[in-house]
Structure formats: structure tokens, C-alpha cells
Point group: D3
Amino acid sequence: MFLQVVNPNTTWAMTAKIEACARAVAGPGTRVEAVSPAMGPPSIESHYDEALAVPGLLAEIEKGERAGADGHVIACFGDPGLDAAREIATGPVVGIAEAAMHTATLLGRSFSVVTTLGRTTGRAWDLAERYGMRGKCRGVHACEVPVLSLDTDPDARKIITEACADALSEDGSDVVVLGCAGMADLCTRISADLGVPVVDGVTAATLAVQSLVTMGLATGGKRGEFAPPPPKLYSGLLQDFTTSR
Amino acid sequence: MFLQVVNPNTTWAMTAKIEACARAVAGPGTRVEAVSPAMGPPSIESHYDEALAVPGLLAEIEKGERAGADGHVIACFGDPGLDAAREIATGPVVGIAEAAMHTATLLGRSFSVVTTLGRTTGRAWDLAERYGMRGKCRGVHACEVPVLSLDTDPDARKIITEACADALSEDGSDVVVLGCAGMADLCTRISADLGVPVVDGVTAATLAVQSLVTMGLATGGKRGEFAPPPPKLYSGLLQDFTTSR
Amino acid sequence: MFLQVVNPNTTWAMTAKIEACARAVAGPGTRVEAVSPAMGPPSIESHYDEALAVPGLLAEIEKGERAGADGHVIACFGDPGLDAAREIATGPVVGIAEAAMHTATLLGRSFSVVTTLGRTTGRAWDLAERYGMRGKCRGVHACEVPVLSLDTDPDARKIITEACADALSEDGSDVVVLGCAGMADLCTRISADLGVPVVDGVTAATLAVQSLVTMGLATGGKRGEFAPPPPKLYSGLLQDFTTSR
Amino acid sequence: MFLQVVNPNTTWAMTAKIEACARAVAGPGTRVEAVSPAMGPPSIESHYDEALAVPGLLAEIEKGERAGADGHVIACFGDPGLDAAREIATGPVVGIAEAAMHTATLLGRSFSVVTTLGRTTGRAWDLAERYGMRGKCRGVHACEVPVLSLDTDPDARKIITEACADALSEDGSDVVVLGCAGMADLCTRISADLGVPVVDGVTAATLAVQSLVTMGLATGGKRGEFAPPPPKLYSGLLQDFTTSR
Amino acid sequence: MFLQVVNPNTTWAMTAKIEACARAVAGPGTRVEAVSPAMGPPSIESHYDEALAVPGLLAEIEKGERAGADGHVIACFGDPGLDAAREIATGPVVGIAEAAMHTATLLGRSFSVVTTLGRTTGRAWDLAERYGMRGKCRGVHACEVPVLSLDTDPDARKIITEACADALSEDGSDVVVLGCAGMADLCTRISADLGVPVVDGVTAATLAVQSLVTMGLATGGKRGEFAPPPPKLYSGLLQDFTTSR
Amino acid sequence: MFLQVVNPNTTWAMTAKIEACARAVAGPGTRVEAVSPAMGPPSIESHYDEALAVPGLLAEIEKGERAGADGHVIACFGDPGLDAAREIATGPVVGIAEAAMHTATLLGRSFSVVTTLGRTTGRAWDLAERYGMRGKCRGVHACEVPVLSLDTDPDARKIITEACADALSEDGSDVVVLGCAGMADLCTRISADLGVPVVDGVTAATLAVQSLVTMGLATGGKRGEFAPPPPKLYSGLLQDFTTSR
């Protein structure tokens, strides 16, 4: 089984970390490859960043399809481009926010999300609503560590752990969900420190896609909403990466 | 007052029609200019099309800002890029789906949406949910006329009118919402034929933005979620249209 | 275009203020006339007040219809008598709460309402629920300035501004909605003081009705729920009980 | 114990029928008196009718209070004036729609409402939403027998029974709720004919108020929303407009 | 009329108290008998306790049926076994949580629940959701007095009263619901001390069942979901109390 | 890794089939053992059946814990005893309905459930609501094949396949969820016949538990709602299987 993990920002150091976390949980027969798009923002911290990341992300999904990927993970907590990716992929596609939130609901009554910047909390609430988790998600909390400082700030783990403790206390929730792919490597340690389940979406989504492929399941609605988009002549600069369809 | 209407597909004939409809309702002191992006799909009929249209749309919003636009309309019924546009615009930004749905709720208990292809109905439901209209939107119906055939198919108006009549009957609703910017010119005629209010989002959004500007209102949350995105170095092909920020 | 604004309480000083605010935003071709009923309470601060205001309000709507009004605004934040008014008016009817709440959702993720007395906050929540805004309305806050003191209390603006600031801070919302027609004249100043969008329902509803009339739209459901009520013989005098309290 | 049942329309024949149904279920120590207002519409079949019925209804509640009523029933399926009545009554006040819907939920997973005219179904949905019953109310169906024909039309019971059967079949529900006080006397017979529980709000509300008084319970929130409204000088005559239609 | 009240724990002292409270409100023609199962936990303070209490509870319902009970009350605030009891009883069955919550909504806009241990608050929220009360239930609060200490702890009433006062203040609600059958005898006193309506589910459910029987109403859906379960051969130790079917 | 799958009915032939399906998808390092309780009903087709199955199910969970199970699957589509099992298990516990529904949402916009008897559809809706899937579950359909006939009725697969086709057509959904553990072996074939994703909960839950254990995740809330229940003296016949705690 070959799973592609797309980190939709262009920071390959983060991509490598994500790949390591995904590989650490994948089964023995599963090959995992993580990639970043050739174009897009170095980190996704606004609706604008997300919008500009999606075309490059979709180009990678298409490359992954040609390379024979059996399934795809979108490794950004905003689940950017998920619906579009499901149209163009033959196998399953899972976003890390949806995987993490679904996983959290198997572990208790409620969860809290701890994410990077405050300006991204709205998007997390959007997704909670979309996934039917509005009642189970008790809070979305920002630690105010920017995405690209997660690796460079020596206090990052400490700050995030404290934000998780505060979130649990304030929300009275049972589980923490880490709200950024760049936090994937911290998950086990924070969980041990706090003594509560802490869910990382990268591992959750990798295992979810692996499970779907194991069960022979791919995106439905292929005769309707999720059918492959009909070929069109896309104009302008975007053409370079879309003519490959 | 200068309002920019962005048709996010690249079909300028449709842009001209949209501009005419918007101008027909704007006040005497309001200048309306409609544009299409330099890049993107000729029509938006899938999640994939929408994803590829957004970067070009945002580039036009940025151009409109530099040209002194007081407000912006996004003239595609999926309201693509709306959150991102609100981050980069100083004045208000309104999507035609949100404007049409809000308008419809002022006219009765419930409404039905009639859109183009069946594969786009899911997106309309997403928006109804997002705008708090899940209970008021009784149905989303497809007439199966593709966007670019709205002008060329001689039977288009007849087919859409019949779809509206069927929707009203099936849903027991009070109002019809037209689910595509390309239907804007048909609105008055269909309403007259059916004897019920029919709402077109292009005119509704143009008037909504004009009203917001008149009241001196622009997007809030400018210290948080909708603050201008901090400058970043965007890599790759997308750079051309983003370096202007 | 002739728009009627009905202030459903009997305090004509407040009616004059409302009229001025409505006229300030109406387009050059729009005539705006504000009226109060001949009967009813001097201010609406309870469910009881509202119930007694509605018959007089409906009588004014009927007078407005006979005078050729193209549309009507109900200028009380409880949106009293809205459904009944839609039955008897040929043109559109918009309440200031619904107009303000819909407007607020075009400006951000969430809003807070600041109203007069605490006992009226329940009604504001009822309306938020009815209009599909339960998730977007983060709080309804009372400044405890009675309606008729809005003009006479020299500290009124200061108290309301502070209540708005507290609401924004407590709720983490993007926009403020003023919860009383009597606050209409304070809107611009409070918005300037706080640096956030502040929505007044009187201007929002006036512009909404003007837009509906411009688009040729009136209340739907005229063959069903909003059909004119069939003539009936209403018995007795509604007079006696209103002097007995 | 003295319970007042207010039929908010002015048709005393219907009031007598309602009184008989209420008395038939009241306990041996409970005195039940039904009244109609001196003013208002002969039947309530529109939002307009309801609005004009409420002042007279409230006057009767005030009379009942002065006569020592321990609790009040509002015997119209739109539950008109319920919030206002709770402000002015010292004892509990229950509407027949709320009583019937709450009762129905004790009897199964879901219920269907069968009411008089189609134009009133919207109000029933409003109440289902307000009472948290949106998921349990599977349908609101009109038999198109006007309120005042319930007694005079010899086919009324047959038509209503058929509408109930159709509703059960179409909705797959467990219980029928009769959506008009004027159907109270038909309840037992229809239930026997159909072999399913059929709930009449008049008896349900009478027993609910009797239970509340037995438990010593009255409306809460008396320091806030449901406090007695402060005295005000209500102006004018509510008379003129009611003969003008 | 003969009503059976089942206290699903095995503590007969609590059963006697429950019986006294139920009898205190029942009408003159109503006989009330309270029982505990022969098997099960001495108190219900976890999902595990509840699961083990249900078979014994159902055996008592079956005994009550054979003894001619016209209706049944399940006197534990988790409403355990309610759906199963409705399948096997011919008359109505009401749980004390559902009765208390429905009653509370007749008394104001919102209520707060005060229960025993914090670990049981989740179940109360489950029921609020199930009964459509999610918006009306403003909070579920634990006083941390275990069920069996309600009678033995001399400070129990004081602690619960303080928890009720805190709940009202924190939630801004109009009504308190007591979240344990063992608090039934404290209800009147707490209500008097706090000056707000306090609802006890034991009395509320007893009166609700009495009302249903008076109206001739029993569980619907008897041809579907709530039909008597077909006879089966139950294996193992459970056989003793199930062979009686 | 050792996973226990509990079939809560006492039909071991079905347990063997479930075990085979679970083993077919488990990873190479995962041992799967399926068991049935010593006591309880031979099939679960009513609320009553479910209630009587739970104590035996919980006894098996406790046995599994003592045998060193790392996680547990509850293999009945009603997810009976799930909360209680989470209290007593140290590792994760997943029900097949929750696993199937979560899985289905990763595959499209909406799903339909096809279950055995019509009387069990209510419970499936309960679970959809509980898991936040009310909007995504478009329908619950019964094929009216009893649980124990799934293996013996030669037409079972054909009937179920037709019910799935009808459900997809009627609901316009993207995915089918099989609503009974006894259908697990039919999943792949039905999916192939219909050309749409068909989700079986047994395999979905087995993989979900395996994933949770791989990530080191177990039930949270262990200091509150899901803490081990304190030891109590359970009376009566139930003692035999509870004294082991």
C-alpha cells in the first residue's frame, strides 16, 4: 500500500517531520511518502494563505495519483482543498482535522483543540461544524506560536503543553486535539505530561486512510458531486500545473 | 461610490452580463465595474474549478483595492474565496449566495435554490448551513444546464423556469433563489412567469455592498481572523500574482 | 419610492429621531416617512408592551398601504407583528432586528447585541434563533438604560459604548448590533470610538427595504401563509383594558 | 383549585366546548372556567388574527388573576400571548400547543400535527422549533376545515380522521397532535378509530396547569424577563382599526 | 388508577421516600406503589451502575403490568431503560428526568440541573439533548453529595441549596431541576429558600403519568419500535427474571 | 496487540463470522478474539433485547481486560453498553455503529443506513444524533430480514442489496452503511454489485481500535465521567457476574 501525505505549505523541514510521524504509525506493508507543493505559502496561517496553497496541493495530489498512490492525507489542520482532492483522487483522501476530530470523539464526551495563532481558530470552528462536532468541541485555543516557530522556538513544547492544560481545565473536556501538523512530533510527550489522550491529526489521518484502503473503500458520490471534474481549458498562469490533467 | 464585481470565472461575456445586471440596480452615485481574473477556469462547476479560480479572484480583489474600490461582490454562487477576500479588502465583501439567501429570508418562511448542475448542489447546502439557513432552505435543485450554456441554449430560460416551478411545488416554499450568476438576467422574467419572488444574487449582493458602504460598514475582526495576512514569500508559479502585495 | 417606517411605540420624539436616521441613508429617489401608532405603549420593554403595541402598529401599516407605501420598516428591535404585517402589506416589510442581524453576518464571523433592559434579552435570543443566527450571535447584553432615557440620560452614550466594549471583549465577536431603535443616532459615534463595525437596525432595515423594492421583490407565500387575511367581524372594544393597568 | 381557560377567539360556542373538555379531565378539587375575550376575531387563522386576539386575551388573564385563578390555559394552538401572559399572571400559564407537543413526546419517538388551514402550518412549525421539538415533529398537516366549520361541517370528523391517517402514514410517526382547540371533543373518537394515541392540547394543558399548581410551581424569571411589566400610560383607543377591515 | 413507581436502585429507604413524595401529589383516586428491583446496584452513579440496574428495573415493570398498573414512573434521573419499558408496558411510562425537564420549560426560558456527582453530568446532558432541551438547559451542576448520603449527610440540604443558588447565578436561568430522585423531599424547602421554582422529577413524573392515564393515552408506535418484543430464549443467569414473559 | 471483539448476542455462529471479518482486516501484529456473553438474547432486535444484553456484554469486557486485551469492539449496531464499557476498560472501546458512521463521513457528503428490522431504525437515528451525524445520515432503511435469518435465508444478500439500491436512490446519498454486525460478510460483495462504497462496522471498528492502540490512545475523562466505577455490593442474581470486579 502506498500512501501520499501532502503538506500543503512549502516548508520541507516540516514535511520531513510529518513524514516521520506518519511512518511511525503506518503498518509494515504501507509505504508513506510526504511532499510539499512547488508553489504556495511557507506556512498556512490565514484564509489567504490557505487559498493560495490549494492549487499547489491539488497538483501534488494529481502527481500522487500518477505515481500510484492508494490514498492521500492532507496534512494541514484547515483541511484545505479536501473536496476538490476527493474529486480528482481515485482512492480515499482524509484531512488531518477531520481525522483528529473523529478520533477524539471515540475517546470521550468532548475535546478541546489547541492550535497556533488566534486568527486560525475560526477555521477550526468551521470544520467542527462541518463534521458534526459542534457539540463535542468545547473550545478552540491558540498558543500563539507561529507555525514555523514550532521547531525553532525552544519554549514551543512548554507553551503548547500549558495551553493544553489550560484548555482542559477551562473546557472540562476529556481529550486534546492538536491543531497543526507541525505539532505532530510533540503529541506523545504532551499526552504523557498531562495524563490525558492527545490526538495528532497526521497520525490519525494516516491510519484512517490506511484503514480505508484496507477495507477497499474510496470516495463515494463518483457519479455526482465527487465525479472527476470534466476537462476545461484553464487560462493564464495556472495553466502550467493544470494542463497535466 | 465605486463597487467592484468579480466574476471568478474567465468568461468575459458572462462578466458583461453580470455587470449590466449590477448596474441596473445600483444607485445613481454608484459606479460598478465587473472583472474576470486573468487565470482560472472558464466556468465553476466543481470543487476543483472553484479551488483553481480563487487565486485569480483574490488577485482581482487586490487590483480593485488599489483602484480604490469601496466594496466588492464575488459573483459566483459558491461564494469562493470570501473569507480570504475579507482579509485583504478594506471595504465590505459580499458573496452572491449569501446575499441571495439573506434576501430570500426577508420575503417568507422558506426558499428553494435552483442551480445549474447537480454536482454543485452540495456546495449550496454547505453555504446554507454556514449562513444559518439550513432550516429555511427547503431544497436545492439542479436544472442540468451547464453554466456556459445559459446564454447559448435557446431553451435555457424555459428549462430553468420549469425547474423553479417544480421546486416550489415539491418544497412548498415561498421564494426561489437562482443559484448561478449566469442566471441574473433571467430573474425578473421568471418571477413574472411564476408569480412568486425570485432572487438573483448578483443584484442582491450589489445592493448589499452598496448599503454597507452607505452605512460606513466594513469587515470586522480586523484585529483577529480578518486582519490583513502578514507578508510571506510565496514560492513557485503563483509568485507572479502575489508579489504585488 | 415611498418607504414607511413604523415606530411601534407612541413616543413621537423617538419617531422623529428614527426618521432622521432612516432618511440619512436612503437614496435620492426614496421618500421616507416615519410614524407612531395612535394607540399603544410609550416604550416597548416587555412581552406585554409588545403585545399591546402590535394592533396599533398593524393599523399604521394598513394606513401606509392606503397611502401607497412601497415598503415598510418595523422600527423596534423585537420585530413585533412582522408576520402579520407581511400578510397585510403588498410590498416588503423588514424588522430592524432581522435587518441588523443579517447585516452583521456580512461583516464577520460573529456579533454581539447590546440592548436596553435585561428583561428584553430573551426576546433578542428568540429572534436570533428564528433568523438562524444562534451560532453567530455570541451574546446579548443589557446596558440597563430604559428606552425613554436614551435621549434624556446625559451618560447614555458613554454607558452604551462601555457596554459595547465589554460585550466585544467578553464574546470575542467581530461586530456589535445595537438592540434598540432609540440608539440609531449613536451608531456612527460608537463605531468610531471602538474601531469596530456597529450596526444599527433602523438604517439597515431602511436600506434593505429600499433594495427589495429596487429589485421588485415583495413578500412571497401570498397564496398560503402570507396571503391577505380573509375579512372577519372583529368584536368589541380593545379600549377598556388599556386604561385599567 | 381554580383554573382559568382562555379561548382567545370570541366564539363562545367553541368556548363552551373547550370548557366541557377541560372539566372532563380535571380532578375533583379543581374548578375550571373558560372564557372568551370581549374583543378580537371570531377565529384565529392568520398571524393578523392572532395579533388582534392577544390584547383581549391578556385582559381576560388579568380578570382571571383578580378573580383568584391559580393558573391559566391559553386555548389556541398558536399559543398566542404566552410570554406576555406569564409576565402578568402569578400562577402558571400553559399554551395548548406546548402542552400537546410535550405530552406527545412522552408517548413515542415522533408525532404529526393535524391542524385546520394550511396557512397556519407555519406557526405550528415555529412553535415546534421554539419548544425544542423540531426533530420530533415529523409533519404539520392541514385538513382545510376552517375553525368555525369544525362544529357545523357534518364531515369534519371524517375529514380530520382521514388527515390523521394520512399524516401517520406519510410521516411514519407514533402519535397525532390535534392542532386546534376546536378539535378537542373529537380526540377520543379519532384515537379509537385509528388505534394510535391522539393528543388534544386543551386537556393536556388543563392537566399540566393542574399539575403545576399541585406542585406549587409558577412561572420563574420573576426578577427578570417574566417580572410584572412596570405600569405605563397606554395611549389611544385600540377600537378604530378593528372595524376598518 | 394504579401507578407504579420504580426506583431502579436497591435501596428501599430511598424507595419509601420516593413513594411518599409521589403519593403527596397524586389525586384522590390514584394509588401509588413504589418498588425497588430484587437485583442491581444500591445507587446509580455511573454508566456501569445504570446498565446493571436496567434488567431488574424491567422485571419490576413486568411485575407491575401483571399487577394491573395503569402507568409507570422510572425514578432515576438517568431515565434508565425507558425505551425498553415502553415496549413491555401497556400503559404510559415516564422517566423523572424527562418529566422534570418538560415541566421546567413550562415555567420559563431556561433551567439549570443540580445533580449529585460530577461524573453523572454527562448523562444529564445526553438526556437534555434527546428531549430537545439542549438550548433550554443552561447548565448541569454537581453538588458532589453521593446518592446514599443525601439522607445521612446532615449538611446535604444546605450543600444542595447552595449549589442551586450558584447554578442560578452562573447560568442566569429561571428554574432549577433537581437531578436525583433522592432529592425529592427537599424540593419545596429549597424552592422556598431560593424564591424560584424548583422542579422535582418524582412528583413531576407521577403527575405526568396520572395525566396521561386520565386522558387515555399510552405509548404509541406499538406496531413498530415500541411493539412488545417477540419472545426469545434468553440464555444464562438472566433467565430467572425473563422467563416470566 | 490483542483486540477483543464482543458480539453481545449469544449466537456463536454469528460470533465466528464476525471474528473472521475482523481478522481479515487486522494488521499482521494484531490478534483478534471474538466472544459472546454467557447470558443474554440470541439476537438484539428491540430496546428490551439490548437492555438484557448489556450486563453479559460488560462481563465479557471485564474478562477481556483480565486477559490483557488492548482494546475492545462492541459488535452490535446499537452500540449497547458503550459508555459503561469505557468506564471499565483501560484501553479504547469502539462500537460498530460509531465506527461505521465516522468512516462513512470520510467518503462523501452523506450516507444511508440499511438495517434489519424496521423497529430498530429508531435506535440508529438516536446514534446518528449522538455522533453528530444527523445531517449526514440521509435515511435509515429496514430490509426486514431478522438478524438470525441473515445466514439462513438464501435470499438475504439479494434482499439487502436491493434495499441498499433503493436507499441510495431515495436518499441521494454517496455511501451505504450496513446496520447489523451480521451483515459484515456481505459488505464487499454488495459494494461490488452497486459500485458505491459500502461500510461494515465490524471491520471499521476493528481498524479504528487498532489505530487507537497504535497511537497509544485510550478513553479520556478517566478522572471524571469515565473513571472506573467505585466498587459496590450489587444485590440479587446479577451478583454472580459482578463479584469478579
